[in-house]
Subunit: 274 residues, 2 copies
């Protein structure tokens, strides 16, 4: 892990057990990185390193990496996936987007569909939204009782601990944008006909609840950043900063996992290809 990577993680992580305020994190912060153009080039290099490390993870075949992306509408979850993971491609990365639960899913506990979507060994799985919606929108919109939401933080921590103990490394990223930046991005969807389909009038209703969402995020970050599955708050107003931060943390984490090509039980000289 490079010094830069270490300082990125230290600065962006929500330290387990420490008091945390979302207001202390500036969505426009770019102080961790230098020049924009150079940083973008470095991110592309990191994406290639992630691809090479994923190849080793796949060959090793015994562990998985689960990346959880959370953030309000327009915070850039899709854009992050493209910038950081297209070099690895669909062969090594699977994305699961969680929308409103289906009727069948509602007939189960809220972690049922999540568990079913966890990545298989050797692969990187990305959750585009996740079980954290069950303590975010569920809390703000009252889709579950206060008691149920209150229980979920510890349930989630226990669930994630089980995943980690069984070979899945977990990285959690909250894409932190400002209310002004969201306004600009929503307006862009209104202004550009090719983006109209991305605009959902109900996004404006969520925007009316902005402060309540921020509060729900803050509680979630505080209670569910654990030593085994830490949260990182990513300054996401600037896309290049967001991509660089996430690529750095993913690459450092994979390097730390240090997956190995497996030893084979034969000698190359044992075989002649007929």
């Amino acid at each position: 892990m490079s010094d830069l990577e270490r300082s990125i993680i230290e600065k962006l992580q929500v330290v387990p057990g420490e008091r945390f305020s979302l207001k202390d994190r500036d969505p426009r912060d770019s102080s961790l990185f230098g020049d924009e153009k150079e940083t973008k080039a470095a991110t592309a290099t990191l994406a290639k390193s992630i691809d090479a490390l994923q190849d080793r993870l796949y060959s090793e075949g015994s562990r998985a990496l689960l990346i959880i992306l959370q953030g309000t509408d327009t915070s850039g979850k899709d854009g992050t996936i493209r910038s950081v993971f297209n070099s690895t491609g669909p062969l090594g990365v699977s994305v699961h987007a969680f929308g409103p639960p289906s009727r069948l899913e509602l007939e189960h506990d809220y972690l049922w569909r999540v568990h079913a979507a966890c990545p298989r060994r050797g692969t990187i799985g990305i959750f585009n939204r996740s079980h954290y919606e069950d303590v975010l929108i569920a809390k703000v919109r009252g889709l579950a009782s206060k008691e149920a939401v209150e229980q979920r933080y510890e349930q989630i921590n226990a669930f994630e601990k089980m995943l980690v103990e069984n070979g899945t490394t977990i990285l959690k990223f909250m894409l932190h944008i400002s209310k002004d930046e969201q306004k600009e991005r929503l307006q862009a969807r209104l202004d550009d006909p090719a983006k109209h389909w991305k605009f959902n009038p109900s996004d404006l209703e969520d925007r009316e609840h902005w402060d309540e969402y921020q509060e729900a995020y803050e509680i979630m970050l505080q209670r569910c950043s654990t030593p085994h599955a830490p949260w990182h708050v990513i300054p996401a107003d600037r896309k290049w900063v967001r991509n660089a931060a996430i690529a750095s943390i993913v690459k450092a984490t994979l390097e730390d996992m240090n997956p190995q090509y497996p030893n084979v039980s034969w000698n190359p000289g044992d075989f002649t290809i007929p």
Copy 2:
């Protein structure tokens, strides 16, 4: 569809109902394309077009594209996915690799696991191997009775027809390599320690059955190339030819599907972002 794309499809398709011999198809053929370097550049451009078309497919949200890749060991299924689909990335493409069926899967009919893995609307799904193994390895290695295998061709055609009638376009590619080319590629896996994990001694057993596999492929191609889900035999000894051919056919097919950004039921002027 360009003239080149049309000629590629005409040359590589297995024409439904016509007598077909695999020996008439040369795995080293590169006559459809010109210069290697220019063709590679054109393939990269096609990959970008596929990405743009997938964006429309996703926004439209009513249809899917299923791509089935079949081919012997080392025929380049993984390499094809990287070259043609990394531009689109894991956000729009999901890959499902079919290995030997699990115990649970064996407790169901052979199409059960396949159906479950079909792509959702708005996405491109790639099968790395598929239900066609059930008329290939199952036939050559006697994993199913002759009667059962014999019934499967029509079962598969009916299954695929149902998928097509319900909104999934299907493209099937057999990556056709020569026995000599396979020898070189297997030897490369023995020679390079970083590729040792890719070498499976049992691949050599399959190689001993080379002629039987070719015959099983020929029957499968003849009987399961249908107007609704045609087979294409891709000359795959040269990777750049393989990638160019598949990228061309995928791009032409998506263009033919012509997915549309959906009309929205509101006017941009109706909204002011607060």
